[in-house]
Amino acid sequence: MQQTIDSQIQARVRLLLARKWVDLKSLTIGTTNGTVYLGGGLKLTGGKNGEGRGGRTWLTRLRQEICAIPDVNDVVFQFHQIEEEND
């Protein structure tokens, strides 16, 4: 049943983000039909060449890790606020 799978994916995405110390209060997370949606505000913490938290490389890696969760078909990022730090 897709709804059970979606709620299971949702739980795993939450845990993945918690393990990465992402501030969950400022994020919205959703799952429908195996598509994971991340929205809200994502606070970045610098790093060189986009490797720091929230940098381009970090986001690409995050997308890959979410895609690796069983039954995830697509990942959509729609952050309305990205606060960037400069090193």
Partner: protein
């Protein structure tokens, strides 16, 4: 050690004080009007022996929000440390403690009395707090121990710590780890200072309300993978504020980061036990249960969280997902609608609501729910597929195929697009195209082995 190894070792060194300070300074520069950011930055300056900088930030916080009681108190602390000034009129005029709850009211009053020379009054306030509010007894006795350090009275320190240990197991454990063994007559004040306050704090000017600084430092270390260092800072925060539910939440995240889900669950259960109204702990425990397959237990946690905070859209949305998983579509719909009432831009709730409406046969409703998402700029193959499903059910095949082709363009690897596209082609009477689309679906879906024998009753096979 090779050059590469040396570089790696250097990267692992964490200086949480300077990193946290720089992060808050950047926050302040980006949002100079945020009083809470200025207050937080002031706190870290205060703890880092930079009272002049701290004073400037607290003044700025108060200029933005003159009623900000925590910043008012910190302003008085910084002024006392930096200028040596403590005026009774200012404390009275500010009426600070009437604006805060216990234990802050007593802890702040005790600080003020000790700084103004009324040591006995300072200790009496803490004793009264311990007597009248047993849940704050440990933190009250702990602060009494710090006051006794500043008075240079090791016997009083030992007595206060004995009481702390008696009334709270977490304090007892942390103090034991820091060298408290029960009876330690003869231990010097300098040794107590190091054990309880660390290297950086001066017991004479010790501020009772800066536990958030230590939480920030702990989280900074944890993000860098320095979990033991993080735990130490979290314990510093707990010793100062005695807020066990928050402490257990932090410990649960450390346990998760360490891959120990059992410890995480244990800490979250304890967080709820000491504060059954902690919505944050209930949500975290709910997801832990869900991920471990305890679906009914997860649902209970979310239902309680929703009762505690019905206007919190995140709780409503996630409860809706769990209701759907339990086959309770009507309850799920109510939750999604509540989430959207509070936050109309909660696009995840809108996407789930639309899918639920499709499942219940309300195709016009689904299209109505999906319409605002394009205006919000949400681009996803699944949303286009949902629209296509609704159009198809309403007999609008051309519109459906148009949406599906857009979905393929947006994400050529999304398997469901091809499945629905196959159905749309079949309805058009285009059998070959339908078979090709279903084949594409099977090629992209991870569960193709399970789906292959049953998909469209074998009709996908040429």
């Amino acid at each position: 050690m090779s050059e590469g190894q040396a570089a790696q070792s250097i990267e692992l060194v964490v200086d949480p004080w300077s990193e946290a300070t720089h992060e808050l300074e950047r926050d302040r520069d980006a949002h100079p009007g945020f009083a809470d950011v200025r207050n937080q930055l002031g706190m870290i300056y205060l703890e880092d022996s930079r009272p002049q900088d701290a004073l400037r930030e607290f003044q700025a916080a108060l200029a933005k929000n003159p009623a900000y009681s925590l910043a008012k108190f910190h302003y008085l602390v910084a002024k006392r440390i930096h200028e040596g000034v403590l005026e009774a009129e200012e404390w009275d005029a500010e009426n600070i403690i009437q604006q805060v709850d216990e234990p802050q009211a007593s802890l702040w009053t005790s600080w003020y009395l000790s700084q103004s020379g009324d040591v006995r009054g300072s200790v009496e306030v803490l004793d009264r707090l311990a007597r009248t509010e047993p849940r704050f007894a440990a933190v009250a006795h702990y602060h009494r121990a710090i006051r006794s350090i500043s008075l240079g009275d090791p016997t009083a320190v030992e007595s206060a710590l004995g009481q702390v240990s008696e009334c709270h197991p977490v304090y007892r454990r942390i103090l034991a780890e820091r060298g408290w063994t029960g009876s330690q007559a003869g231990r010097s004040i300098a040794s107590w200072t190091r054990a309880l306050l660390g290297e950086w704090s001066d017991p004479q000017t010790w501020c009772p309300s800066t536990s958030p600084v230590f939480e920030v430092l702990g989280t900074r270390c944890a993000r860098e993978g320095a979990l033991e260092q993080a735990r130490g800072f979290y314990e510093d925060a707990f010793l100062r504020d005695g807020a066990e539910s928050l402490h257990q939440l932090r410990i649960s995240r450390l346990a998760l980061a360490n891959g120990d889900e059992d410890e995480a669950v244990q800490a979250l259960r304890r967080a709820i036990e000491v504060d059954p109204t902690s919505v944050e702990a209930r949500i975290a425990l709910g997801w832990e249960y869900q991920s471990q397959g305890y679906h009914d237990e997860a649902l209970v946690q979310f239902e309680v969280a929703a009762r505690l905070q019905p206007g919190y859209p995140d709780v409503q949305y996630n409860l809706g997902l769990l209701y759907e998983a339990h086959g309770r579509a009507r309850d799920a719909r109510t939750c999604y609608e509540r989430a959207l009432e509070t936050n109309g831009k909660y696009f995840q709730a809108r996407a789930s609501l639309a899918q639920l409406l499709i499942g219940s046969g309300d195709f016009e409703g689904a299209l109505g729910a999906l319409r605002p998402l394009e205006r919000q700029g949400i681009r996803s193959a699944d949303l286009l597929v949902q629209k296509a499903e609704a159009h198809m059910a309403l007999g609008e095949l051309e519109a459906a195929i148009r949406e599906l082709e857009r979905a393929v363009e947006l994400n050529p690897n999304y398997p469901r697009t091809y499945y629905i596209l196959g159905q749309a082609y079949r309805k058009q009477g285009w059998k070959r195209k339908a078979q090709e689309a279903w084949k594409q679906h099977l090629e992209r879906t991870r569960s193709w082995r399970e789906q292959q024998p049953h998909l469209e009753e074998g009709e996908w096979r040429p």
